[in-house]
């Protein structure tokens, strides 16, 4: 347990009724765990439970040695990327990416430097001045990923983030995800119904 970053012990997820038997799993440093399962089996609920959006029905979640029971979302240090990019439309791309750094007290300048670096990393520095709604689906997905990892969360959760995009773009983006989270050293849980994504991304695959 001490070597794992995230550990679920007899975790029961669901809304009023359990969606699955108690879950026990760990995510270790540097791992990209891909959870594959059919639509509606509870994959998204698992991520939203780990992030603290949905309360657990029973069981425990540990981040390192810290029990996350009752810890609010903003104090968990767990990043979450939804199916849609959900960029904040009133903020610039740089401010979107730097949001978590500003929230954790970093100066505007420090946040801007890191955001610019990440924007460059995801290959979008030439469109830094664009509004969020002017981006293509693929570009918005890249910005959402950069925003999620900017403050280096302890764990990153990806809830089929690019499922609305065409297959070619999605697979290209997932390759970028792998490069980025590996280089940043952020352990990641990715849920999907597509086995090809597991083949592309996973250091370990869990089938639901």
């Amino acid at each position: 347990m001490t070597t794992s970053i995230l550990h679920a012990h007899d975790l029961v997820i669901g809304y009023e009724k359990a969606l699955a038997p108690p879950l026990n799993f760990s995510v270790r440093p540097g791992e990209i765990v891909v959870v594959v399962g059919e639509s509606g089996c509870g994959k998204s609920t698992l991520l939203s439970t780990l992030a603290g959006v949905t309360p657990t029905l029973s069981g425990d979640i540990f981040l390192g040695d810290k029990d996350l029971s009752g810890v609010p979302i903003h104090k968990r240090n767990i990043g979450l990327v939804f199916q849609d990019p959900l960029l904040f439309p009133h903020l610039s791309l740089i401010d979107n990416i730097g949001y978590s750094l500003r929230a954790s007290g970093a100066s505007k300048n420090a946040a801007r430097i890191r955001a610019t670096e990440l924007l460059e990393w995801v290959g979008l520095s030439e469109i830094a001045g664009q509004k969020t709604w002017q981006l293509s689906g693929g570009q918005a997905g890249r910005v959402a990923l950069a925003r999620a990892i900017a403050a280096k969360p302890a764990v990153l959760l990806l809830d089929e983030p690019y499922s609305a995009l065409d297959t070619a773009t999605r697979l290209r983006l997932l390759a970028d995800v792998k490069t980025l989270v590996t280089s940043e050293g952020i352990p990641t849980i990715h849920v999907t119904h597509d086995h090809r994504e597991a083949d592309l991304l996973a250091t370990r695959t869990l089938t639901w």
């Binding site: 903003h74 904040f88 978590s100 929230a103």
Partner: protein
Amino acid sequence: MLSQHLPRSLKWLWILPAILLFTFLIYPLSKLAATAWSTETLGELTSLTLWRVALLAGVQALLSVGLSLLIGIPIARVLFTYEFLGRGFILALVTVPFVLPTVVVALGFRSLFGDAIPNGLLLVVIAHAYINIAVVVRLVGAQWSTLDPRMEVTAATLGAKPLRVFMTITLPALRNSIVLAASVVFIFSFSSLGIVVVLGDGSSTRTLEQVLLRSTSVLLDFPAALAAAILQLVVVSLVFLISARISRDEPRAKVALERAKISGRKAIFVVALTCLVAVALVLSPIASILWSSVSSSGGVTLQWWSELASTQNTRIGSPIAALGRSIGLALATAVIAAILGGAIAIAVMSKKGFVVTLALIPLGVSAVTLGLGILLAFSRGAFDLRGTGALIPITHALIAVPIVVAVATPSLRNVDPRRYFVALSLGAAPLRAWWTAFGTVFSGVMLAAGGLAAAVSLGEFGAATLLSRTDSPTVPVQIARLLSKPGESAFATAAVLSVILVIITMTLLLIVDRIESRKVLT
């Protein structure tokens, strides 16, 4: 597209509202401007006193906006993002203050606070916030219900504390509706009359509308009145312009969101507390009026109710006579507004946008200005309508016209115009086919227009003060006069009249609501 679905015989009917609006709106306002405009008006426009009143009214209106937002936003959050038993009831309840006659609201607060809060800025601001909670809740809530809650969750996963999430994500997302609500509340409070007359202190709470009324009905100083009307119109237009400028049109994904069920003790507590506060806020002044109508220094009594037909407490005609007069005027207003509403519906269908724009003019022109224009235009020669009793209903119908447009336009646009061709293809003559396709919505618009206008007429204070004769006041005018008199009996009689006015107004609005909920309008 709707214009193609009008039978030839109805195609020219838009001329009717155009003529009516030109005759009873444009002509009187032009007449007012022509009569009152002089070099003196220019002098009045540069008068420091007038600008001081505008400044005071502006400060008062800003404070009213602040308090309305402070109370309205949390209620909007609870009512539009959570689903729970009684949500619809609470939403209807918080709308009530907006439709209450302003003098009734003023009486409610006077009765509720007694000497604890003396007349003045604080009481005026509280009363304005009370009336305008509905504006904030409805406008901000409507936008809140379309916000994707995952935005807030995303911000929280990025480490933002709840307050930061609210300030940096939720508030900016609600910006347009907050700006719109704030500008509407500002305009209502800036041009307020009934509230400031009854609850004001005569100095820090003055409004241009009050100056306008005093200049016309007491001082007979028309240049000063016109200057006040012009300044008020300029401020109102500026506020609308600024509000349009501040609002940003950011394309957002349209999501059909379901309201969340309440889960967790904290959420249950927050929702319950907010609902409790909302109910207490809305009902306290009303309950206080009811109590005042059945109590005296000697205890509980029905004396004030039994003296409804007597002139003993009023000395300006019996309360029942004022009620009869107000109801008669409201009925006449309803008929005029129904005809006008129907004609405007035809104008909307004929795509005659300028008629609709004309109909919206009363939004920017105060009731007193409108009343004064009507009085000047129709009190002489062949157009002398003073003896006919038509001046007040015409003015009230015009005041209600923008509301009628707001109700009619979306209803008419929601009708599937292909029904007209279906009816034609089934052999109906054009007029019959038109009635088959649009008759229900058309009659619904006329009924709603009549009902809403009657409700407006029952509670309208400014124009009625100017246009009603001293010995035959309407109910709101009589309430205001009673409140300016000392003594328990005058106050209690005003309370009795207010209770009756509340009951009639609410009944009327329930009927209009019923028409809408039976989908007559869509």
